[in-house]
């Protein structure tokens, strides 16, 4: 009986959000917040940035033990070296990111000039290309080093995604990301919301599904399953593939807009990456 009751509550949010094409981003954000705070009343807002460990005491304990010797530390160090190593032309990341490495909280943002969502990995590669360096791959590899370093230096800053009202294309990008989140796809017919809203807190086999709120704050993430650090878009790909849907290109428009929507949902939550996950 209890389960039936939970299921009924659970269904409410996706309907409210998905059905309301006219809802403003601020409405969406407060809907998602009140939904998860009702669902997990003991969890404080900022805690949601810890994913599944915010809602499951048992796995939290082993995670806390792991955090004592963080598996992403060597990646942060490697990234620091990248940051301090000059490109062939004598310039470096410093020259592109004048405010220093701790700027992850300024991404993703709407780039009016380019008419697109600008993410940190994209900005990193734009910097490299502008200086005659080869761009880095977007899912695996050393992009995760530089991202780990920059994110580490951004810890404590709050997520603060802005959807500028003076450019309707920004709102369109947000809406596209939101639609992506609620659209069922793949042979198995899941939306992101099926798992991370409707069923967050439930077990799927032996995994507990984490809440959508806070999903972006901890990236890049060291996953034991990967044995390395990976980007947010690598995770998107994995979640698409497991429902037998065709994954999209990391840093392609679909995933950038998805990131725009999903990160906006976490506005006000502190950045806490890189982080460690099962």
């Amino acid at each position: 009986m209890k389960r039936l009751f939970t299921a009924a509550v659970v269904i409410a949010l996706p309907l409210v959000m998905a059905g309301s094409a006219v809802a403003s981003p601020a409405d969406d954000s407060s809907a998602i917040r009140s939904y998860f705070s009702k669902k997990f009343p003991a969890v404080e807002l900022n805690e949601f940035g810890n994913g599944v460990y915010a809602i499951d005491k048992v796995s939290r304990e082993s995670w806390e033990a792991i955090e004592e010797f963080p598996p992403y530390e060597t990646f942060v160090d490697a990234g620091e070296e990248m940051w301090n190593t000059a490109f062939a032309n004598g310039k470096g990341y410093k020259d592109c990111f004048a405010d220093g490495p701790g700027v992850a909280h300024k991404y993703p943002h709407w780039d009016k000039e380019k008419g697109m969502v600008m993410t940190l990995p994209l900005a990193i590669n734009n910097c490299r290309k502008a200086n005659g360096e080869k761009p880095l791959k977007y899912a695996k590899g050393s992009i995760n080093d530089i991202l780990s370093y920059m994110t580490y230096n951004s810890r404590g800053h709050k997520t603060n995604v802005v959807i500028p009202s003076d450019d309707p294309r920004a709102m369109a990008a947000y809406e596209e990301g939101k639609q992506f989140y609620f659209a069922r796809r793949g042979q198995l017919n899941f939306s992101c919301a099926s798992c991370h809203m409707q069923n967050s807190g439930n077990y799927i086999r032996s995994d507990i599904l984490s809440p959508a709120l806070g999903h972006t704050t901890g990236f890049p993430v060291y996953r034991s399953k990967w044995g390395t650090v990976g980007t947010l878009h690598r995770r998107f790909k994995g979640c698409n593939k497991q429902v037998r849907a065709k994954p999209f290109k990391p840093q392609g428009q679909e995933y950038r807009n998805l990131e725009y929507f999903l990160t906006y949902m976490s506005n006000g939550l502190e950045l806490n990456g890189p982080s460690a996950r099962k």
């Binding site: 042979q187 017919n189 032996s206």
Partner: protein
């Protein structure tokens, strides 16, 4: 088809027919095993991802436990329809449409339905 192949096929068919006649119940148990395997394995039904089912481990909690199914589904067709496409009954159902999306073919679906119906 070569003669030897067709005789061996015939022999198999005869054997199968004989075993159905002689071992009616254990044949049923075999079909059940097949349905169980299809229901449990991750590449096919993976019902355990969401449902507790007797005999399975690491079951998820997304859907209700599948027990006493004949009480819930006196009609096999109704059960089959739920597994064919759960979103007909509940548009918000996260349960994959196993028949409609050909996650299981007709034979596999029937085997799964038989197994579940007998739970």
């Amino acid at each position: 088809m070569s003669i030897s192949k067709s005789t061996s096929l015939m022999r198999k068919t005869l054997l199968a027919a004989a075993s159905v006649a002689l071992l009616g119940t254990s044949q049923l148990a075999l079909a059940d095993e097949n349905g169980k395997e299809l229901a449990f394995t991750r590449k096919k039904g993976n019902c355990l991802a969401c449902h507790m089912i007797s005999g399975g481990s690491n079951a998820g909690t997304i859907g209700p436990a599948l027990i006493d199914m004949k009480a819930r589904f006196p009609k096999r067709d109704v059960l089959k329809a739920q597994i064919w496409d759960a979103t007909v009954n509940n548009p918000e159902s996260p349960m994959p449409p196993f028949g409609k999306h050909k996650i299981l073919n007709d034979k596999e679906l029937d085997a799964v339905v038989d197994f579940i119906w007998n739970l």
